[in-house]
């Protein structure tokens, strides 16, 4: 399946958006998942699909059920977001927790256009249940209704609130990580840049899970993942255009919105970056790690062979997903142990 790109198309019939670029193959297990989910999981997301994508999925396990089963307490707080508007954060902690805990500030994924602060729960819940961390996850406002800088400024406001309420929350700010996946990874990187440039809060590390960093649509990997896999080139343009509107791809975009534009990575916290060989974000994620190294910042980079975007979440039974999660969580455990 899936070799749609190998069709012989006369040159003059190729549209600029189609591609015959070779790409790294999907791992067979993940190829199988894509084959079975082709209809349920379209590669390409276009703007008119945004409202439908926001509808709750009927098979979702209700968050509070999942938390109760994991013996995790949820406390919601209303805090001041960008420009002082009210936004929500949820604090998640083990019911039997005692003493001061390390803390992870979480920014969820969803292409800047969808999801909520519990999107990716399976990724961060084990940090609470198994590593004893407190997770603060922020309900930043979504584009296109709330374009840049709302999302990243809401995230930064949540991070500041977390640091300022450390005593009340019973957390140790010397072990404060920021973490996010996909668009949440881009927001985590952008928030870390804001924290550096505004002199706080101090972060112990940044976990950037296949982060969405670059609005410019110019990498080889974005050209390779076009009409194939998960969150393809068009989906990515849908997300960035929702966030940036007409500014997308111009000089009017800040490094906080699109961290790939940062040229000076000095003073950033140690990073863990992972991505997959067959996803749009591969090249911008590798480049971000390279930028950190160039500035003398410690960074751990894992490019998982045969993976597609979000495969750890969508196909957790596969060998690639399991290796990805185990390696990532080992880093989180090391950082939270302090």
């Amino acid at each position: 399946m899936g070799e749609r790109h190998d069709e012989v198309v006369p040159d003059e019939k190729r549209t600029p958006m189609s591609t015959t670029l070779p790409r790294p193959p999907f791992d067979p297990e993940l190829e199988a998942v894509l084959a079975a989910l082709a209809e349920a999981l379209p590669s390409t997301i276009t703007p008119e699909m945004i409202p439908a994508l926001r509808a709750p999925l009927p098979m979702d396990v209700p968050v509070d059920e999942a938390l109760a089963e994991a013996k995790v307490r949820r406390t919601d707080h209303t805090i001041a977001g960008h420009l002082g508007d009210e936004i929500e954060v949820s604090v998640l902690e083990r019911e039997d927790r005692t003493g001061t805990a390390p803390v992870v500030f979480h920014t969820h994924g969803g292409g800047m256009i969808m999801g909520d602060r519990f999107t990716g729960l399976a990724q961060f819940l084990p940090w609470v249940t198994e590593l004893g961390a407190v997770v603060v996850t922020v309900e930043y406002r979504l584009a296109p209704e709330n374009p840049d800088p709302y999302p990243v400024e809401d995230c930064y406001a949540g991070l500041v609130w977390t640091a300022e309420h450390a005593d009340e929350l019973g957390v140790d700010t010397s072990r404060l990580l920021i973490a996010g996946a996909s668009a949440g990874g881009g927001l985590a990187a952008g928030t870390a840049l804001l924290a550096r440039d505004r002199s706080g809060p101090q972060l112990a590390g940044q976990l950037l899970i296949y982060p969405m960093l670059d609005d410019r649509d110019a990498t080889v990997s974005t050209a390779q993942i076009d009409g194939v896999g998960v969150w393809d080139r068009t989906s990515n343009l849908t997300g960035w255009t929702a966030l940036l509107g007409e500014r997308r791809g111009t000089d009017e975009v800040s490094v906080y919105a699109a961290p790939a534009r940062e040229t000076d990575h000095t003073g950033l916290p140690p990073a863990y970056i992972d991505c997959a060989t067959a996803e749009v974000f591969r090249d911008e994620d590798v480049a971000y790690a390279t930028g950190l190294w160039r500035a003398g910042v410690q960074a751990e980079l894992h490019v998982w062979p045969g993976g597609f975007h979000g495969c750890d979440m969508m196909a957790p039974h596969t060998a690639v997903a399991q290796a990805m999660v185990a390696t990532r969580d080992a880093w989180v455990a090391k950082m939270l142990a302090g």
Binding site: M1, G2, P28, E29, A36, L37, L57, M313, M314, H317
Partner: protein, 323 residues
């Protein structure tokens, strides 16, 4: 985003979801995925534990993709997969896709088993494996660099041979097989079975004759060449299959080792005098044994027909003996 486990295990067969099951396994098979990935696929698509066992191994996987302690098919719904078996640990009524999941998983596991067999045997194994197609064997002969005239050599599985050899199991147990060219010397010490000469494509027949020759060689201790025995060996093999044993064979089983030895020498010698010399007996006492043996057999093994009948029965008796 939705996690996959829920979506896949809730597939609905009434809306073309069987095609999704087929698509899932087709992609795994096309990607040369292993047994673990196939079982994980079966587990995640059915929402229950999937297992497989094969000679020398077993594996169970949970729908979360976790390896579980090995188990057996037991009473679970199962299907054969080459020399192994796959099953789904479904409690309660079968789900709509269970049969399709089992069928496709079994197909994948059979392909994996075939691939392992290929790897463990190499081209020699393919050449000597009776289940392969002529095309596969011709290709394997080319890969092994065989000349136009070859024969099979069979020795006991524990014996070392210089050069390429493969241990293949059969109804006669595991046997080590090799291919000989006319320039190659066969081992002089038994037990050794040699098959008839022929083209590489005929090696399977040569190998089965060599195995028969090895069985005879195990009984006699000396190398046995099927080329010399020709149709006699095939006829003896057919005779040895009879249950209850053919009367000519059964009567040999009533004789002691000394009598059988005398019978073999007598039947194989030009004259009574030559046989007496070979046995270190006086020819008059040998003549007396000969009369007694003819009586015991119920036919005279010193006519031309009696000699053939006796040799055939003796070969069948040796083939019938457990190695």
């Amino acid at each position: 985003m939705q996690e996959l486990v829920g979506r896949l295990s809730a597939l609905d067969p009434t809306s073309g979801d069987e095609l999704k099951v087929i698509g899932y396994f087709d992609a795994l098979i096309a990607g040369a995925a292993g047994t673990e990935a196939l079982l994980k696929g079966a587990a995640v698509l059915s929402g229950t534990v999937a297992g497989a066992c094969w000679p020398g191994g077993a594996l169970r996987m949970s729908p979360e993709g976790v390896r579980l302690p090995a188990g057996e098919a037991g009473g679970w719904p199962s299907r054969p997969a080459a020399d192994g078996r796959v099953w789904l640990e479904r409690t309660g009524p079968a789900h709509a896709n269970d049969a399709m999941v089992l069928e496709r998983c079994a197909l994948g596991v059979s392909i994996v088993r075939g691939r392992h067999r290929e790897r463990s045997l190499g081209p020699l194994g393919v050449l000597l494996d009776g289940e392969r197609t002529p095309q596969e064997r011709t290709a394997a002969a080319a890969r092994a660099g065989l000349g136009p005239r070859v024969r099979a050599l069979a020795v006991t599985a524990d014996r070392h041979l210089p050069g390429a050899s493969a241990v293949l199991a059969g109804t006669d147990g595991p046997v080590r097989l090799a291919v000989l060219h006319p320039r190659d010397a066969a081992p002089a010490e038994g037990p050794v079975g040699l098959g008839p000469w022929g083209e590489p494509a005929q090696l399977v027949r040569s190998a089965s004759a060599a195995r028969l020759a090895l069985q005879v060689s195990r009984a006699t201790g000396a190398p046995v060449d099927a080329e010399e025995l020709g149709g006699l060996l095939e006829a003896a093999a057919a005779l040895a299959q009879r249950t209850p044993p053919a009367p000519d064979v059964a009567v040999l089983d009533t004789l002691d080792e000394r009598s059988l030895r005398i019978l073999d020498v007598l039947v194989g010698s030009e004259s009574l005098r030559a046989a007496a010399a070979a046995l270190g007996m006086h020819h008059s006492s040998l003549a007396a044994r000969r009369t007694a043996l003819a009586e015991a057999l119920g036919y005279d093994p010193w006519t031309a027909r009696g000699r053939a009948r006796c040799q055939l029965a003796r070969l069948a008796q040796q083939l019938g003996r457990p190695g």
